[in-house]
């Protein structure tokens, strides 16, 4: 049991899985000698050698495409795209191949690979280093899209993603990389893909979120409890796609009020699907409209203004109070 950051937790997952399975290969820009620009792969090239940790040329389609070939052969590549804002250079490899090879070959091949990539704002970074466009990948049949919200679950989720027989895109909330520590057991932990988690029980309102937005959501929940006596139920989606709608539907049937919180732009964002599932499966339980507290439909501004773009505790609290007023 150690008290570690998310970076360390992800590193632990990789290290322990690589020890168990020599089919796991890491590849990406700067993942070797440099240990990754966020140090998630630190020390792994020293431990596992250049044959298992590949510093690749600067080419995202190359990284993902090569991983697909490795995976088709039966290896378990875990590739890194340095920032999710550059994953679009490999978009066609993910859409047209990673998520289709099982289907195209009718089961002869499958693609047990993981694409790890940091996403989201809050680290005062340059353009293309702060976006949150998980919706692109959530709308790709054949692919799984997951996002952890803290060190412990990050470690467990990465282990499960690596072992999953299908391709998984693993968005890492970079704002959380070193934001806080959690106790993470030395022993193996897994986290089933396709299952969301109840993080806080409550009766009055359901907040549905994931990734870096779990923190402000939980903070907002506790402020609402303290100041307004409102008991919020908070759900961490963990897997964005295929979406687990059971838990949140059940919750909203109980609370009658729901909010979705994400930093992605609102329109055509992940929240829209959650709203739609609630409409489809809990419509007659809804007492008020579901509210979306999200990024705006603009490009996330450079860092001096990003805090106005990103949902924060205040915005969530305000929206929650409104829901309870009506």
């Amino acid at each position: 049991m150690t008290n570690i950051t998310m970076v360390q937790a992800l590193n632990l997952a990789l290290r322990q899985e690589m020890e168990k399975d020599d089919g796991i290969i890491l590849l990406g820009e700067d993942v070797g000698v440099d240990g990754g620009v966020f140090r998630v792969t630190e020390g792994l090239i020293e431990k596992f050698g250049e044959q298992r940790v590949l510093d690749t040329p600067l080419a995202e389609s190359g990284i993902v495409g090569m991983s697909i070939g490795m995976a088709a052969y039966g290896l378990r590549p875990v590739c890194e795209i340095q920032f999710s804002g550059f994953s679009y250079l490999s978009f066609h490899q993910i859409e047209s191949h990673a998520s289709r090879l099982r289907w195209r070959s009718q089961g002869r091949f499958h693609v047990p690979m993981v694409v790890r990539t940091p996403y989201g704002g809050g680290v005062r970074a340059l353009e293309h280093h702060s976006e949150s466009r998980e919706a692109f990948y959530a709308h790709m049949p054949g692919l799984k899209m997951v996002i952890p919200s803290g060190p412990r679950i990050a470690r467990a989720l990465l282990v499960s993603a690596i072992r999953d027989p299908d391709p998984v895109i693993f968005f890492e909330p970079k704002a959380l990389y070193r934001a806080f520590r959690e106790e993470v057991p030395d022993e193996e932990e897994t986290c089933p893909l396709g299952k969301s988690r109840l993080v806080l029980e409550g009766e009055d309102l359901t907040m549905i979120s994931y990734g870096a937005m779990m923190r402000p959501s939980l903070d907002a929940a506790s402020e609402l409890k303290d100041k307004d006596g409102i008991r919020v139920e908070v759900i961490d989606l963990v897997t964005i796609s295929p979406l687990d709608d059971e838990l949140f539907v059940q919750s909203v049937k109980k609370t009658g009020r729901a909010m979705v919180i994400h930093e992605a732009p609102r329109s055509f964002g992940p929240g829209a699907e959650i709203v739609s599932r609630l409409v489809e499966k809990a419509f007659f339980y809804l007492e008020v409209p579901i509210s979306r507290v999200t990024g705006f439909d603009i490009l996330i501004p450079l860092f001096s203004r990003e805090n106005y773009y990103l949902p924060n505790v205040q915005r969530i609290v305000r929206s929650a109070r409104q829901l309870l007023k009506t």
Partner: protein
């Protein structure tokens, strides 16, 4: 150092063994067993006749769009004939002859072109990746496969096919560069058939040859007469041996020609002259190779070819019939939910159930139930 020429170590060569007049360069003639020569010939002929039959089926509306290979048989078969069955082939979408050589059945091709996903099924013992439609994107899969072979200490190699147009895509570049950097055992076979749909080779790139693009990656590149089976075979053999012995990748440009339409949805008369086509008919790889087998190798005769033609015709007919039979058993639409994931997630279970409900509802409405 002032203005100095840099010596680029690699040279780009052109290889021709059996020229378009059927003249043989004895010094360069590769050693190929009689059985192999005859097998290659048989598959060339089969590929040609199967193309004709597919076209016929397409025109009757019995299959959908497909991409004919006529004219490119030597480029494909000269290359794959060098492979062992444990080696890997990563095709594009115009490698019918190569796929058949590697064990793909004609009925699975017909099924595929009839719009059945089942036609894409790759048998467990065949080391081919499925057909890849997005141009050039599969080159990287070939590199990844080849890297995995090296990692697993196999001495198998990977051969991948693509067209002249494919060399313009970014993935061509990334594929060859990765292969060079990791020295993976992969043979890049470019079937330069002069056209990318309506765009001629000359508009695709200003480089004099496609083979010289290898220089950008520090890997060997070679141009061959792609309608000369012996030249393709020799080049592929050299490249495969190099790859197998750890020497890394090679780019082979096979200069050939697509004698028919791009796909059955295409009308080449819109963009190219009949004279050009006729010029290339004169370079047809099939009669050229037959002449070699008849005159130089004394392995074939007019009569033998005629018997072969009959045999092949029957074989194709049998495949068409098997495919029809299979199709009639494959009407079940619920199978479209299969193979998306290892296990059906909840949303797909729900949607599959919805469709199942609809289907039985339909039956009821149609009075079938």
């Amino acid at each position: 150092m002032p203005r100095n020429k840099i010596n680029i170590s690699d040279e780009i060569e052109h290889l021709s063994v059996l020229n378009e007049k059927g003249q043989l360069d004895k010094d360069l003639e590769p050693e190929i067993s009689e059985t192999l020569l005859l097998n290659i010939h048989r598959t060339m002929l089969l590929g040609r006749r199967f193309d004709e039959r597919l076209l016929n089926l397409q025109r009757q509306g019995r299959i959908g769009t497909f991409a004919p290979i006529t004219g490119q048989e030597a480029a494909q078969l000269g290359a794959v004939a060098v492979l062992r069955s444990s080696d890997w082939m990563v095709p594009s979408f115009r490698e019918t002859a190569a796929e058949i050589w590697r064990g793909r059945t004609m009925e699975s091709l017909i099924l595929y072109y009839s719009g059945f996903n089942e036609g894409g099924r790759i048998p467990d013992d065949m080391n081919n990746l499925p057909v890849c439609v997005p141009v050039a994107t599969h080159l990287l899969h070939a590199v990844g496969l080849a890297w995995a072979l090296g990692y697993r200490k196999k001495d198998d190699v990977v051969m991948t096919f693509f067209g002249d147009g494919a060399t313009s895509e970014g993935d061509f570049h990334e594929g060859l560069n990765f292969a060079g950097v990791y020295r993976t055992p992969v043979i890049f076979v470019c079937q330069n058939n002069q056209w990318a749909i309506s765009v001629p080779r000359s508009k695709q790139t200003r480089s004099q040859t496609l083979a010289q693009k290898a220089l950008a990656y520090g890997i060997p590149g070679l141009q061959v007469d792609g309608n000369d089976l012996l030249a393709v075979y020799s080049a592929a053999k050299e490249a495969v041996e190099r790859a197998r012995s750890g020497g890394g990748p090679t780019l082979i440009e096979c200069v050939t020609y697509r004698l028919m339409m791009h796909t059955t949805a295409d009308d080449p008369k819109r963009y190219r002259k009949e004279e050009e086509v006729q010029e290339w008919v004169g370079r047809d790889p099939l009669p050229r190779f037959q002449k070699y087998l008849i005159e130089n190798k004394k392995l074939l005769s007019k009569e033998k070819i005629d018997r072969l033609e009959t045999e092949i015709k029957e074989e194709i007919q049998a495949a068409v019939e098997r495919a029809e039979e299979q199709k009639s058993k494959l009407k079940e639409p619920l199978e479209m939910f299969d193979h998306v994931y290892a296990e059906l997630p909840k949303n797909l279970k729900e949607q599959k159930a919805q469709l199942a409900g609809e289907l039985s509802g339909n039956k009821k409405e149609d009075g079938h139930d």
